[in-house]
Subunit: 326 residues, 2 copies
């Protein structure tokens, strides 16, 4: 089985590649070949099979043709311009999040129409396809009325994925991910960054600022859970999914106060005291438009599972990123 | 005021052009210039102002630039590959319904970013963006899960229209039209054709076949109502519409039996006896997946109105198409 990961240098792409390489199988079948593509050179994990890395420019339409020509059995498509950049650079956001995605689907279609087997395509979508006001729990079929160009591009790509799947040009599934927490690495400028910062930094004795009230509720999954979503999505029989191939992934709805109590349980009062409380009205305004909870009955019935508590999310971070202990 | 109609050779484009030319104003302002564009040469109505017709190829990207360069104050965009053809010719459907629409919006954006005034763009969308199962009455914000490539392309264009409007690149509104009935002309092969055929043909003494049970319910508006929708949509202040610029248009939910009783009222038993009842399971299967009724509270609050009864729809047809009498 040949697996292609597009966007393999990103956090989830890297973790998924490492996970698949370590197990060496997908859905019980041996992985013989792993191709990792990204705009910056991906790092190949240790792997017994054949591994290739590709540095690609998705804005170049020839890239889609080259990727489809690999005739991978499973294609994970993570590559995207993130929300803030897609809003700041209108052309770039549409070029990558819409045009490159469509070019990829279309190159696959032409290959399939020429006789190639239909590949599984697992697409990373986003809850940004939804816009406030929200119900208490957002179902899969809540209307997609995005409030950003990024959300618009993801919603358009979802529509394409469903139409191409319906026509038999690819076997697609799209996953709308919760906010990934605890995101490893260093603090970044994403509006959502503080949700990870206030745990990751104090866990290693560093300060972090909380710019919103601790009553703020949001929707989370650990990186390990997210890798599990993509792994399962690549393995499922999708013939019973019906016309919508897009699923809200399960997650944990929690307040910042609950995050902080889990930090206290794991690392004590001193860690919690490293959190400063300097309000940022700009971030608060953005965060207040974000969803807080989802109805994920459809994904749960298919076997997708996420973290049960922030204690578990923190334990996962300590195990996966901090060598197992503080 | 300069008005551009793209798709001006089609039934609604022609009727709208004639309506605007006859009145000579839009929203109380004089229309000084009317540009009619279509893939086949449009016919210009009698008009006191400046009229131009353009034969255009929307698959050619230069067309969008040329249309935007006209700097019309109001742009009506009717041009589309219809449902059946978009399903049969995948590339053509996407090329016109998605790519040409996006190229138009993008050419307008570039002009606006270069300093041109923001035009009103009125886009003809479709209830084909929705897919069964439906609620009793479909609201504006029912999820768009199309069951056709045509519906997918219209849903993607709606998302673009909303994003371009949100960013201030155009001032857009999209109208999801009921099935137009009574469609003038000769019987065509559209699956929905019989809804018009069973009235239009017997009204002039000709036979027509009903391929479905007379209990079949559907959603209708007369051509005159549809022209009224576009006229009003060009005139409204849209600043209060919020993030979704897409509206289900009002219509009449009626059964075939109700259509037939209105025919009997207007033209007597002999006219009704011209309807044959040869079931067509292929058409019945398609029609059974179509919506039957809509919640159009949002459009109604903005002043959009449709026909109150099939008696009225038939009277309108007699007035507009048959010279006022049978």
């Amino acid at each position: 089985m040949h697996i292609l990961i597009i966007g393999a240098a990103g956090m989830l792409g890297r973790k998924l590649a490492a996970h698949l390489a370590a197990r060496g199988t997908l859905n019980g079948q041996p992985i013989t070949r792993l191709t990792l593509a990204d705009v910056v050179a991906p790092t190949a994990p240790g792997f017994a099979g054949q591994t290739a890395t590709m540095t690609i420019d998705l804005a170049d339409r020839a890239t889609a043709t080259a990727l489809a020509a690999l005739r991978a059995d499973v294609i994970f498509h993570f590559a995207a311009i993130v929300s803030g950049e897609a809003e700041a650079d209108f052309d770039k956001g549409y070029a990558i999040n819409l045009d490159a995605t469509r070019a990829l689907f279309d190159a696959i279609r032409l290959d399939v129409q020429a006789g190639s087997p239909v590949p599984r395509v697992v697409f990373a979508s986003s809850t940004a396809v939804f816009g406030a006001p929200f119900p208490a729990k957002i179902p899969d079929d809540f209307h997609a009325t995005p409030r950003s160009s990024y959300g618009t591009q993801k919603a358009m790509a979802e529509l394409l994925l469903c139409d191409y799947s319906r026509r038999g040009f690819l076997d697609g599934i799209g996953l709308r991910l919760p906010t990934i927490c605890i995101r490893p690495g260093t603090p970044n400028k994403a509006a959502s960054g503080f949700y990870s910062n206030i745990l990751r930094e104090p866990l290693v004795g560093l300060p972090a600022n909380l710019p919103v009230p601790d009553t703020t509720r949001h929707w989370f999954a650990s990186p390990r859970s997210a890798v599990g979503f993509f792994d399962l999505a690549a393995s499922l029989d999708l013939t019973t999914l019906g016309p919508s191939r897009i699923l809200n992934m399960p997650g944990l709805s929690a307040t910042v106060a609950e995050q902080i109590e889990a930090l206290r349980d794991a690392a004590g009062h001193d860690a919690v005291r490293l959190i400063t409380h300097n309000p940022d009205p700009v971030i608060a305004k953005i965060v207040n438009t974000w969803p807080q909870d989802f109805d994920t009955a459809r994904a749960t019935a298919l076997g997708f599972t996420a973290d049960a508590s922030f204690d578990q999310i923190i334990a996962t971070h300590i195990a996966d990123e901090l060598g197992g202990a503080l």
